[in-house]
């Protein structure tokens, strides 16, 4: 594995300063930084072979189309899907979930049907289902969590019933870092023939994801959270489901024949890719996946585990710091609050010290409701972070305490 200095040198932005201080980037849960190879891959599209995919007969269009389809193949092998037809490009996790919630609702949902989510969901895995429920007269059921920030599996098993039509849960909580027992969740749902969507937005970048052994029916994630460009996301769906489901958007490229009387749709995966897709970002994502594979996903996971354990012990040693989300199974995300100090004040001062964290509810208000709090400070780490940066955060927290005492 590359050493940390080499890794950091791959990410140009990590060298910059903010307010005259070296940047400490601990907001990887919101978006990750991009290695040079990703920036180069996207540049190369525009500099040397940009042409709209699947349309032109010309050289550039062919080249772009080929690179785009290679990117699809790269994603397929990265998550170990069976077929390239099962990989749909979208705008991001939010786009993927909205798409599935819409077309699944249109196809299968009747009044009184139930959708199961967990209390750990990001708003992106709540609101699209809620919108569908309102349209269809269906009901959301929520798996509760305990004070460690873990879902209560027994409660989930009780929620599963003949009314359940789909289960949609996150692989890891963006607000607390908890990793969910997705295998158990999926197995129980499959036992009663209910499909499961896994929101991999906070999962795919932290270790090996294998949709085949996981057996999820749908798996979605965003490119920009796995060191790829913004504006590209993935919707993986088992072929059986994607074939049955109607498209969620209409437009060019997703059609077979169009007349004003009737349109027939293109084959998978194009049925779900209406209009010009963000192919430069898809190509950039392929480069990001190559980069991640090059570092090694086991290496990433073990390095992040080490960082999490160091950060947890450093932060919990500070008087007044309370960590939310204390599960044994966590991604490298730490949500905390300093006693009597508003998270916004903490975030503003850390920012002036060059430390980028997120503050607030992290688009997961139900999680905050569980603890009866209005927000936390979230440090989301990844493999390019260092123990020295964690020390800087600890010093920053002491500084915040001294300023607001």
């Amino acid at each position: 594995m590359k050493d940390i200095a080499e890794i950091r040198a791959d990410f140009p932005i990590l060298n910059r300063k903010v307010y005259g201080k070296p940047l400490v980037y601990f907001d990887n849960g919101a978006t990750t930084q991009k290695p040079q190879c990703v920036l180069d891959a996207v540049d190369e599209v525009y500099e040397s072979y940009n042409g709209n995919i699947h349309r032109g007969v010309h050289f550039l269009s062919d080249m772009s189309s080929e690179a785009y389809e290679k990117a699809r193949e790269k994603v397929r092998s990265f998550i170990n899907a069976d077929k390239r037809e099962e990989i749909v490009f979208t705008s991001g996790t939010t786009g993927s979930i909205n798409g599935i919630a819409f077309c699944f609702g249109e196809k299968y949902i009747k009044p009184g049907d139930e959708i199961i989510l967990s209390q750990l969901e990001h708003h992106a895995n709540i609101v699209p289902w809620q919108m569908m429920c309102e349209r269809k007269g269906a009901v959301l059921r929520v798996i509760p969590i305990n004070d460690n920030g873990e879902i209560i599996l027994e409660e989930y098993y009780k929620l599963l019933s003949s009314k359940t039509r789909i289960v949609s849960v996150t692989q890891a909580s963006n607000a607390l870092g908890t990793i969910l027992p997705v295998k158990e969740i999926i197995a129980a749902a499959h036992h009663i023939n209910v499909p499961v969507l896994i929101d991999g937005a906070q999962g795919v970048q932290h270790g090996i994801v294998d949709v085949k052994t996981m057996e999820s029916d749908f798996y979605v994630f965003s490119g920009h959270k796995i060191y790829g460009p913004n504006g590209i996301g993935i919707l993986y769906g088992k072929e059986k489901w994607l074939s049955e489901l109607p498209p969620f958007q209409g437009g060019g490229d997703m059609v077979d024949k169009v007349t004003f009387e009737k349109t027939t749709y293109n084959e998978l995966p194009f049925k779900f890719e209406a209009g010009t897709m963000n192919y430069p970002a898809a190509i950039g994502l392929a480069s990001a996946l190559d980069y991640v594979s090059g570092i090694g996903r086991e290496n990433i996971a073990s390095r992040e585990k080490e960082l999490l354990s160091y950060a947890t012990s450093r932060l919990s040693a500070i008087e007044g710091v309370n960590i939310y989300g204390t599960s044994e199974m966590k991604i490298s995300t730490i949500s905390f609050h300093i006693k009597d100090i508003h998270q916004y004040d903490t975030g503003m001062i850390l920012d002036k010290m060059g430390i980028a964290v997120r503050t607030g509810t992290h688009c997961a208000q139900p999680v905050m409701d569980h603890y009866g709090i209005e927000g936390t400070v979230r440090a989301s780490l990844c493999f390019y972070n260092t123990k020295e940066e964690i020390d800087t955060l600890a010093e920053g927290i002491e500084k915040v305490k001294s300023m607001f005492a």
Partner: protein, 140 residues
């Protein structure tokens, strides 16, 4: 003092410091001078939407001048609203409406407290001007 004089004083106070940490310490101190809202007005009606921290702002109009009192659960936000109150409180609705808040840019608040939902600076300004407009209409 005119609102411009108050703004010029604020700009001068902040210009003593180059370091952002010092500027924030000043902001925290200014927050301590905030004319605090009567707790009975710390209710939803006087809560400003669009802030990551809670801000309550209460306007009192005596027929000529509007005075503002406020509070926030975040100390930096309290400093920001205190600055706005220094400039805009105890003035006529017309004056509040027409005041150009140039000090925000000059002391770097706009760049460093980004005009997004996170700090609510713009929501606070908008709310103060809206109250002034409402009283202005009543006054005609």
């Amino acid at each position: 003092m005119t609102s411009s004089e108050v703004q010029d004083n604020i700009i001068e106070e902040f210009s003593q410091f180059d370091d952002w940490m010092d500027k924030y310490n000043l902001l925290i101190d200014i927050g301590k001078e905030l004319p605090v809202i009567d707790p009975k007005y710390k209710v939803k009606d006087f809560l400003i939407e669009g802030c990551q921290s809670k801000v309550w702002l209460y306007p009192k109009f005596d027929g000529k001048l509007i005075t503002f009192t406020a509070d926030s659960d975040a100390i930096i936000t309290r400093g920001i609203v205190a600055l706005l109150i220094k400039v805009l409180s105890n003035r006529s609705p017309q004056e509040i409406i027409s005041t150009d808040l140039y000090f925000i840019d000059k002391i770097g608040l706009r760049q460093n407290l980004s005009p997004t939902r996170s700090n609510g600076l713009l929501s606070m300004v908008r709310q103060m001007k809206l109250y002034a407009m409402a009283y202005n209409v009543k006054n005609i």
